[in-house]
């Protein structure tokens, strides 16, 4: 909950932004400390994930999902045929990073339930991106609480690339883990 404000982050430049990356490593995820519903307040920031995209990583994502869409790896095609500023950061990769980030925040006993987002500004290889999120509401239900978050993914210029909203279920302090498989509160 101590993430640097995104406005301040953007003043640091790409290299400075990377120093504020809070992406957990394997052991931190293994030993993830639960954020309980009671720990969260409206206005809180979620952990900041900061990453510089590289062309090989764009290619790696194409390989991972068997994606032959050339605007992600064929720079000449992206420039000359599609009038794009470069090889594009995938919408599907944004989708996976956002889902991972919300899941990580809920570990070990919460649940990333739902989200929606738009793919907005084009982001290309060698840009640095920061995933930000802020708690905008929270609601108590019987066995768990639901925290509502607005989020986005800005590049080093501050351009918003994935504005969205999400709902994450968190356990109560001293309560049971959020039910798995997940049962929505209105089910």
């Amino acid at each position: 909950m101590m993430a640097i404000p995104v406005e301040q982050l953007l003043t640091l430049g790409p290299d400075g932004m990377l120093k504020h990356d809070e992406t957990p490593n394997v052991e931190q995820l293994r030993n993830a400390k639960q954020t309980y519903f009671e720990d969260v307040n409206v206005g809180d920031d979620l952990p900041r994930y900061v990453h510089r995209l590289s062309a090989p990583e764009l290619a790696r994502w194409c390989i991972t999902m068997e994606n032959t869409h050339r605007l992600h790896y064929d720079l000449a095609h992206a420039h000359n045929h599609d009038n794009l500023p470069g090889a594009l950061f995938h919408g599907t990769w944004r989708m996976s990073i956002i889902s991972k980030w919300l899941k990580d925040w809920s570990l070990p006993d919460g649940w990333f339930w739902k989200a929606s987002w738009q793919v907005r500004e084009m982001v290309t290889a060698n840009e640095t991106i920061a995933l930000w999120g802020k708690v905008i509401d929270k609601q108590e239900y019987g066995k768990y609480g639901v925290v509502h978050v607005e989020f986005g993914m800005v590049n080093e210029e501050g351009w918003e690339g994935a504005p969205g909203a999400a709902s994450v279920a968190l356990p109560y302090r001293g309560g049971e883990p959020v039910p798995y498989p997940f049962t929505p509160p209105d089910a």
């Binding site: 991972t64 068997e66 995938h90 996976s96 889902s99 991972k100 990580d104 739902k114 989200a115």
Partner: protein
């Protein structure tokens, strides 16, 4: 006669696709450790719950997967489908992906079969997550064209906004994930 790039896109043929559904189709193969490994590395989402059974089982009953993985793998091309990529590229050397590596059979009618579009952009998503698939699970999915809208870009040229909804289930008919994908198709 207007140029191809300026012809209206939201034709009666396109509108007729709204509401079209697939049957409940089965993914080729099963959920396997190699596919999970590929996504763990590709995102990357190195949560040890994705491979450490001892860590994951008490809560999830088995190892987990990156949250969106099932969305990306379910319509993978089965080995018996004809390879159309050489012909697509011969017909249109500027094709944006040569038809991709998704399954053609038993899919929704591709928008390009009825509209003169050649270029796809990912515009956003709405997702709801209920549970992860397990190793060895068979995956079933059902898709529906929800909506098409024609809009015009800053250059005055038309493009189509497409909305497709897909639900993913396991062999026990448990709902795993629901995704509503929004795309942009351009001439």
């Amino acid at each position: 006669m207007p140029e191809e790039k300026e012809r209206p896109l939201l034709t009666d043929e396109v509108k007729a696709l709204i509401g079209q559904e697939t049957g409940l189709e089965e993914m080729y193969g099963e959920v396997d450790r190699e596919t999970v490994r590929r996504y763990v590395v590709g995102v990357p989402d190195q949560d040890p719950r994705h491979w450490d059974e001892e860590l994951a089982s008490p809560r999830f009953g088995a190892t987990t997967t990156p949250a969106m993985m099932v969305h990306y793998i379910s319509n993978r091309k089965p080995p018996w489908e004809e390879d159309e990529m050489p012909q697509i590229m011969a017909d249109d050397p500027f094709s944006d992906g040569g038809g991709g590596m998704g399954r053609r059979e038993k899919s929704l009618t591709p928008i390009r079969d009825v509209a003169p579009t050649r270029s796809h952009l990912h515009a956003g998503d709405e997702v709801e997550l209920y549970q992860y698939p397990k190793i060895g699970d068979r995956i079933f999915y059902k898709s529906r064209w929800v909506d098409f809208q024609e809009k015009r870009g800053r250059d005055g040229r038309p493009f189509l906004v497409t909305v497709r909804e897909t639900s993913y289930l396991n062999q026990n008919n448990d709902l795993l994930l629901k995704v509503r994908g929004i795309g942009i198709e351009r001439p």
